[in-house]
Symmetry: C2
Subunit: 170 residues, 2 copies
C-alpha cells in the first residue's frame, strides 16, 4: 500500500483519521467498547490476523487511546483498556452506528444496542450544536476558513457557501 499520511494537511479530520482511520482500528475499538479486552478474544471476535492486531494495538497504545493493564503475572498477561482519549472516541462510533442503522438495515437484526441508563431507552444518537443544542445539518452549517487555512481552501469554501445548488438532494 505504501500509504501516505494525511497529517500534513493539519486538519483535525485528517489527523484523527491518521490514527483511527486505519483498516481494523475502529472495529477493534468497537469490540473494546463492547467489553472485549484481550488479545485472543479480539482475534476470534474480529477474524483479524495476529500480525495486524498486534500492530493496531501497539499503535493505539502509543497514541494513548488504549493502555495495557496486567491482569496476571507469571506469565505476564495484559488486557487493553480505554484511556480518557479512548473513551472519547465513542461519539465517533455512535455516529457511525447511527448511519448504518438508518441506511443499511434492510433487516432489523441489530446485534448490539446501547441503552441509555439516564432515560432507559435504546439510544438513537443525535449530533447537536454544543451552544444552542439545535440540530446540525448541512443546511444550517457554513464552512468557514479558520486561522490555519490555505488559499485554495478559502476559495472553494466561498464558492460552496454562496451556491445552495451544490447541496440539492438527488
Amino acid at each position: 500500500m505504501q500509504r501516505t499520511t494525511f497529517s500534513d494537511q493539519h486538519c483535525s479530520v485528517a489527523r484523527t483519521l491518521d490514527i483511527i482511520g486505519e483498516w481494523w482500528t475502529l472495529m477493534i475499538l468497537r469490540d473494546i467498547f463492547y467489553g472485549v479486552h484481550r488479545f485472543e478474544a479480539l482475534l476470534t471476535q474480529l477474524g483479524i490476523s495476529r500480525k495486524v492486531l498486534t500492530q493496531r494495538l501497539q499503535r493505539l497504545t502509543d497514541e494513548k487511546i488504549l493502555r495495557k493493564v496486567a491482569y496476571q503475572q507469571n506469565p505476564p498477561r495484559y488486557e487493553y483498556r480505554l484511556t480518557a482519549r479512548g473513551i472519547d472516541i465513542m461519539p465517533v462510533l455512535l455516529s457511525i452506528m447511527r448511519w448504518g442503522d438508518r441506511w443499511l438495515s434492510e433487516d432489523k437484526q441489530v446485534p448490539v444496542e446501547f441503552v441509555h441508563t439516564e432515560c432507559g431507552e435504546v439510544v438513537v444518537p443525535k449530533v447537536v450544536c454544543g451552544h444552542c443544542e439545535g440540530e446540525l445539518s448541512i443546511r444550517n452549517l457554513v464552512p468557514r476558513p479558520g486561522l490555519g487555512s490555505a488559499e485554495e481552501e478559502i476559495k472553494s469554501m466561498r464558492e460552496a457557501s454562496s451556491n445552495p445548488e451544490l447541496f440539492k438532494l438527488s
Copy 2:
C-alpha cells in the same frame, strides 16, 4: 492488502466501515462537504493518486452516497454531489473533527470551522440521546445484545456491563 470485508459481522459499524472506512474515503467526503466537487480539484486538494480517487468516487457513487451531475456537455464533464445518504454522513465527520480538535490540537491553527447559522456560533458538535437529549458517555451507556446477536457477544457484554473496573480511566 487482499482485504477482507467486515460485513459478515452484520453489525451497523462493520457494514458502514466497509463503505466509508476505506483509506481516503472520509477525506474525500470531507472535501466535498467543504465544497470541492470536481475530480481535478479533489486530486490537487488531497494529494491522492488518480487511480484511487477514481475507485473511491466510483464506490461512493455505487453506494448512492455521491451522484454524478453533468455541469457541461461537449465534452461531458461531471461533478460529484452528495445525496441524502451522503449528507447524513456529516455527523460522522463532525464527531471525528471534534475528537481531533479536543485531543490533537497542540497549536490552535484550525483550517476550517463550521458556523451554525441558527445560533451564529462556531460549532462544537455534541452527541446526545435522541430520546431525552441527555449527554451520552461510556458511564451511562450499557451495551445490550440485540436480536441478531451471537452467543460470544452476549457473554462478553454481560462481563463488561457488570464490571465497572473495565472503564476506569488511566
